[in-house]
Every structure is written in C-alpha cells, then in structure tokens.
Symmetry: C2
C-alpha cells in the first residue's frame, strides 16, 4: 500500500534534487561564473525556486501531511514528518503576492545597498529599508497569528526552531552584565603584552596550500567537497559534495586561515549528516545556531586554543618560514588578540556577542513596531558606546549599514551567531570531560576522538531531535551560557 | 490577448531555464565535482530531465502548437514555431517506457564499456550493445513511421535536420573515390620531408597560458565564458556563459592547443547566437554539422593554415622558448602532419573522413537491420584496410570499441563531423572571396573581418533558416563537397 507518508517522502526527495541543482548553481555563481552570466543565472534560479515553492505547497502535500499523522510511523519517520510539516507551513503560510513583493523589495534594497553603503548614504538606504521592514512585519504578523507567538519570535523560529525572545532576553541579559567589563579587562591586560603583526606579502598559493593542509588535519573529506575562492566566504553545496570558500589577501594570512577552519566546521557537519536519510528533511542540519556551533567549535574552541595553534604551527612555518612575528608564541598571541572595533565580521570572540546583542535588540523592536527605521542610527550609536565603548555617530557605512542581513529582510538571524558560540562552548567543555586525553590529543594533532564525539552527539542526528533535546542528550543539560563565560575567562584572563 | 504562440514562448523560456541549470551542473560534473558527488548529481540531473520532458510534451503544448499555426506570426516567429514543433515531436513521439528503457540500457552499456574497452572484451560489450541496438531500432521505427523516412534517416535528422542517407551516400561516395588515393600521395610526399617531434616536458601552466592567449586572439569573450580542464574536452554552458574545456599532457602541447582552438570555434558560435531570441528554440545553433563547421573552420581552415600558425608562433615561442623542433617552420609542419592511424579522435583532416564514412556505413546497415552486432568487427577490419590501409583484426579496443557514441545509442551522429568539415571548407573559401585581404589579415593576427563575416552569415541567425538556406544565403549554393577536396589538395599536395 502506498501511504501518505511515502508520497511525502517522494515529494521531498524531488525537492532535494531541485535543491541540489540550486545549491551548485549558487556556488558556481559565487565562485566560477563570469560576469555576463549573471542575469541568465538569476532567472534560472528564480524559475527553480518558484517550482520548488509550488511543489512544496501543493494542496496534496497538505492533505498527505494530515493523513500521515494517522499512519504507523517509527521515531525517525515521526521526526521527519514534523520537519516536513514545518517546511510546508513556513512556505504555505504566506500568500504568493507577499512572497513576491518581499523578494522584489529585498532584491532592490540589497542591490542599492552595495552602492549606498560605500557612499555612506543612510537617507537613500533607509527609504528602501522601510519597505523591507513593512513587508517583514506583514510576514511576521501572518506567521505570528498562525503560531500564537509574538511577531519577532515568529521570524526567529524560522532560523532557530524553539528559540524565543523571552529565552534570548535572559541569555543576552546575563551576557550584558559581565561582557563589557570582561572586554575592558582583557584589553587592558593585552595592552601590557607585545604582539607583532608579521609583514606580508603572503603568497596566495601558499595560503591556499596552508588552508588545504589545515582542512586535511580537520578531517575534511576531499572526495566529497572542495575549497574555492569567493568574495564572501561560505559553506555551500550538498552533503555529498560540500563546497567551502575563502578569500585571500596578500597582506595577511590569518583571516583566511581562520575562515577556512570556520567553514570546515560547517562542512564536516554537512558531510556527516545521516547518510541513510539524505534527501529527507530529518537529515538536514538542526538549526542555524547548531550549524554555527560547529563552525565556532572548530574556529574558536579548537582553532584558537593554544594546543591546536601549536600543533598547526609547523604547517604555517613550512609555508611562510621564520619571518618576524611568525614565531610560535607570537602566532598564538595573534590568534587570541582582543580588539573592540566597528565591524562585526572582524570581531574577536569577546566583542562579537556585543555586536549581536545590539542588532538583536534593534531588530526585535523594529519588527514589534516599537521603533521605526529612522530610529536605528541613534540606537546604534548609543549601544555601540554602551557595549563596546566605541563612537560611531555619522558612520553609517561601518555602523548600521555594514551587514547584508536586513537588506533582504533576514530579521531574526543575528542571534544564531551568539547562540552558536554558546552551544560551542558547552559542547567543547563536555567533549573535554568525555575525552580525558583531549588536550594532549589536540597538541599531538590527533583529533579522532573529538570528531567521533561530535559525530555521535551532533552530526549523525540531523534534525531528528529538537535543539533542546539534542543539546540535552549531548551534554546532560539544555543551553547553559555559563560555559561560554567560563571559556572566555579561562582563555583571556 | 494572450496567444497560443505567447504561451509557447513562455513554456520554452521555462525550459531554457531548466536547461541552463542542467548545462551548468553537467559542466561542473565534468570539471569540478569530487568523486563522491556523482550519485546525487546524476539523480538531480535525471529529475530535471524528467521534468523538462513533462513540460515539453504536455498535452497543452501540442494544442498550442496547433493553434499557433493559425495566428499571425512574422518570419522569425514562424521559424521559432517550426523549431518548437520539431522539439515537441522529437520528444512526444516516444512512449515514456521506451525512453526509460533506452536510457537504462545506454547507461549500462556505457558504464560497462569503460572497463570492457580496456580489456578488449568484445564478447561482453556486444551483449550490451545488442540491447542498445534493439531499442534504437524501435526508436528509429517509431520516428520513421511518423515522418515517412527510413529508419536511419529518422535518427540522422535529430542531429542534422534535413540531411538524409541518400544525400550522404552521394557526398561520401564521392569522397571515397578520391580520398584514399590522396591520403597515400600525401603520406608519400611527407615521408621525404623531415619533421621533428619537440621533446617535453611542456609545463601545464604554460600550456594553459598559451591556450588563453590563443582564445583571446580568436575573440573568445572571457566576460561570458571560461576555460577549464576535463578528461574529455567539450564546449558546454549556455550562450551567456560558455564553458570550454581541454586536457593537458606534459609530453606535448599541440593537441591541447589545437583542442582549445576547436572548442573556441564552438564557443564563439554559442556566444554570438542571436541575443534577442535567447531562451527560444530559434536562437539555438542550427545543427550539429553547422556547429562542427565552426569548430573545424577555427581548427582546420584557420588554425592549421600557414599564415595563422605563423601569427601565433610568437605566443608559442614566448611560453616554450627555442627548443629543438619548435622553430617556426617545424611548428607548421607538425600541425599539417598526415598519418593514418587507428583512432578517430587523433586523426588528421585527410584521414578523418575515412573514419567517419566507415562508421556511417556500419551504423546505417545496423539500424536498417541489414547487419547485426556480431557482423561489426569483420566489417570494421575490412573497411579500415580499404579506406586507410590499416590492419585492425582482433584489436577491438582501438577498433570498433573506441568511441562512446554507440554505447548509449547515439546512432546518426558520426556523419555530422565530416559534414562539418565540408561546410567549413565551403564557408572559409567564401569568406576568402568576400574579404580580399583575409590571408594578410590572418598573417598579421587581425581576424576582425573574418569574424564579422561569420557573425553576419552564420552566428546571428541561430536556427532561423534551414541548413540548406543558411549555407545558400552565406555561400550562394548548398553544400558542395568540392571545396573540401580543393582545400585538402591545396594544403597537402
Ligand atoms: Zn558560520
Ligand atoms: Zn567539435
């Protein structure tokens, strides 16, 4: 007998095939495509996205979802059905017209932003942004009405299922009580220590070789993935063929090296998602926060730790030799340097949460209708001063116009960065307990046990459990921000 | 009012978007994809091809095609409608079951062939091939019944619309009367001349640089295309973003260089197809024969001509210096060397037609049911002896098992290679008359006038005219094989 559930599986397999093509064409667009291909590529991708939307929100899918609830399903199938329902509801909830309007307004705002940002043109930008906010509020209302949540929570839930602003207020409220002070202390402490910036040039091909060697050390499967170049680094492709990117700058090599370590964390999660369910929603990564926990575990917990930096120092040395500032001890200092600055993506791990909390507070108020677009700059300056002690008045370009997220209505995404950092600290601490030899292993460059632990506790589960369950199963408790604080104090004080 | 014709245009635009994704994913598969991605990629591409087939053969499309015949259309629209009808009929004619059976049998035969060829295993191969032939005959019968043509002609027409075996028999029959003798004469003549094979290694990166320089000279638009590496060179992508490939061998650089020139001929045709009709069938390249005429015009008519070789000699010299065998005069000899051999893809331009005629005669008899698979080896040996004077008995691997075409049922394709060579000779001769300074231009490296002529006479027309019309408009007569003979005698005697 053909069950409703099996019809659903076939439909989602089909969608995963479309998604495969879209992922590869998207990767190609960012890495390989010559400029004149852009228009045709956008049209082809838009066609596929319309098709995927139609297939996912077909009336029949809604009926199968109802029927499948009465069929005899095992645990994994039930989890799969839950994720299917989630995807269906997220897509089917919005009228086609709003989807289209929002996508157009977002594309317009993002496109103009690329020029306006360079020109520091807040007036021009805010006009487009107002329209994006108007439509995002509409979207949030519709989603909130359907789920009974607040408007902002309805958006947040799309990236981080189960997370609410009530929980975030507690988590971030706690952070705000100790983070600014910690930051100041660490900056003071580091002032006393000398740290030398090694002078370039750093040959691009050597940087690439270093990246590949580090990826190898981190267990990246090169039979199922690649490293390439794009202007904005990302992890793309499909679990069977994961494409990560970086960008190179001849003047310094650390940001590319650390970027590669970060994306390799994303990549190993993708490469190790449950093979037997691939193509079904239950095989997908759990959430944006959990995804970021893997990249930040690789980059911050592991990558910036002293034993790891010592273990890869010979690789760095092999590429760039003994130049000034590249002795082992200064190499470690360079990677643990704390310097509050204007730009989120350049921030160290202590400053980073301040950037996120600031954005969270502003975007929440914006979506809930408590503030308007014209209130953003003043709030931004005020909070930058308060959380990071930095004056940004009038500098929109390196202030509230620096990120792409809001331009196409990605409200609710920012918190996942700091959730990821917190999950990472908790998971790494737990792995440390579970593997008594871990610090020695890392120093020796043997990461087998760590990866086994991640495989067993995170990667292999895909979306089978809720985030709370997943973290609870892995660490014996749900998200506990104390580990993050502990980590920062241990490393930097 | 929305006309049936405009519905058709929208449908074919949609199909062109799917084709875009399929072309890029196919290119990626051959150039970039790591091995483990293969299964998922094949599935994704198969899904898209099923979808395209459904969209193209939908009942509505058949109805619109009928209705559009009664609508007021201009010349271009009528040509577009003709090409739409052609595509629809080619797809709608076969029952889904036969399409599927043939695709499975072809995939199985091709897959096994990769091993069997290496093992010289004709027994094993012929078993699979019999099944492919059986299904190709069924396909040919269905197509023949619908069009009133012979079985083989029905297949031939898919690659070369308007071509028939009756015409081919005349063209190839003529060739057979003079080609073997010419070949022998040229081989004798060249025996008396010394030609030195320059010794490698030829650095791969330098070969790549040479290829790029030559592409630049040949007007390749790098804003709308790329050069990459694949094990079987091809020209892929879409007109807005044309992807050509080559392969490198450290021991010699000429086959890669000439391969790049060949693919650049294909690429410039694609890059210059009519912009305003892109996405519609009328914008497509006219036929496989015309496509090959462009690549062979670039490679053979232009690329192997003395003035052109002289004009790019400095580029070669700049990469590889003055080594023995790389003086200008020997460089020209190397590119005009005639040596009958076993392998079609390695053949010089005099031997090449013999390889094609041999295959044409065998595949025609096979599809028409005049011979069976087990008759192929004996026929092959006999004809190789007769046309090329080469003994191949027992060497299946370098004999009837050397090509991929038959493994998945590509019967009817081979003749387009030699049709291309003939069209190329005729077009080039005509361009020579139209541009009195052409030989001097070429020697000076100025190809502007030649490309303008090709643009005006071939590229910009896409599929607007039939092949006969196109060639007649361009040259004042339909295909005339005398130009090809003239060209060979001029160059080699
Ligand atoms: Zn990340
Ligand atoms: Zn070709």
């Amino acid at each position: 007998m053909t069950t409703a559930y099996s019809h659903l599986c076939a439909t989602f397999t089909r969608l995963s095939h479309y998604n495969h093509l879209s992922a590869i064409a998207g990767w190609d667009m960012a890495t390989m495509m010559p400029s004149a291909g852009s228009q045709a590529r956008s049209e082809a991708l838009a066609e596929l996205s319309v098709l995927s939307h139609q297939v996912l929100t077909a009336k029949q899918v809604g009926e199968w979802l109802k029927q499948a609830g009465n069929e005899a399903l095992n645990d994994v199938e039930l989890a799969n059905l839950r994720e299917m329902r989630r995807q269906y509801q997220q897509s089917a909830l919005l009228p086609e017209s709003l989807v289209q309007e929002k996508s157009l307004a977002g594309a317009r705002c993002e496109h103009a932003w690329r020029v306006q940002r360079r020109a520091n043109d807040w007036e021009g930008f805010s006009e487009n942004l107002r329209e994006v906010v108007r439509l995002s509020r509409q979207e949030a209302s519709l989603r909130a009405d359907a789920t009974g949540s607040s408007r902002y929570d309805a958006l947040l839930d799309m990236y981080e299922p189960g997370m609410t602003s009530k929980k975030l207020d507690v988590l971030f409220g706690d952070l705000k009580t100790w983070l600014p002070e910690l930051l100041q202390k660490v900056v003071e402490k580091q002032k006393a220590e000398s740290c030398i910036i090694p002078a370039g040039p750093f040959d691009i091909e050597k940087q690439r070789q270093l990246g590949l060697k580090v990826m190898e050390r981190l267990g990246f499967n090169f039979d199922a993935g690649r490293l390439d170049v794009s202007s904005h680094p990302f992890c793309g492709g499909v679990p069977q063929d994961v494409r990560i990117t970086t960008r190179y700058n001849e003047d310094e090599f650390l940001s590319s090296m650390m970027g590669v370590i970060h994306e390799t964390g994303h990549a190993r999660y993708e490469q190790n998602l449950p093979k037997k369910w691939l193509g079904q929603p239950v095989s997908n990564a759990r959430s944006m926060g959990i995804h970021e926990s893997q990249s930040l575990l690789f980059e911050m917990q592991l990558g910036c730790s002293e034993p790891f930096l010592r273990s890869i120092y010979p690789l760095v040395n092999a590429q760039f030799g003994e130049r000034k500032g590249l002795d082992e001890s200064n190499f470690i200092k360079l990677n643990q340097r704390v310097q509050p600055g204007l730009i989120r993506v350049d921030a160290d791990e202590i400053s980073y949460p301040a950037h996120v909390i600031l954005r969270y507070e502003i975007e929440k108020a914006l979506i809930e209708g408590e503030i308007e677009v014209e209130d953003i700059p003043a709030l931004w300056s005020h909070k930058m001063q308060e959380y990071l002690g930095i004056d940004t008045v009038g500098d929109y370009r390196n202030g509230c116009m620096q990120d792409i997220h809001w331009t196409d209505g990605g409200f609710g995404y920012f918190p996942t960065y700091t959730l990821g950092a917190m999950y990472a600290a908790q998971l790494f601490q737990c792995a440390n307990h579970a593997i008594p030899t871990l610090q020695d292993d890392i120093a020796r460059g043997d990461l087998t046990a760590l990866f086994q632990w991640l495989q067993q506790n995170i990667w292999q589960h895909g979306s089978r459990f809720s985030t709370d369950q997943l973290i609870n199963n892995a660490t014996g408790e749900t998200l506990n921000p104390a580990y993050f604080r502990q980590h920062l104090e241990n490393r930097y004080l």
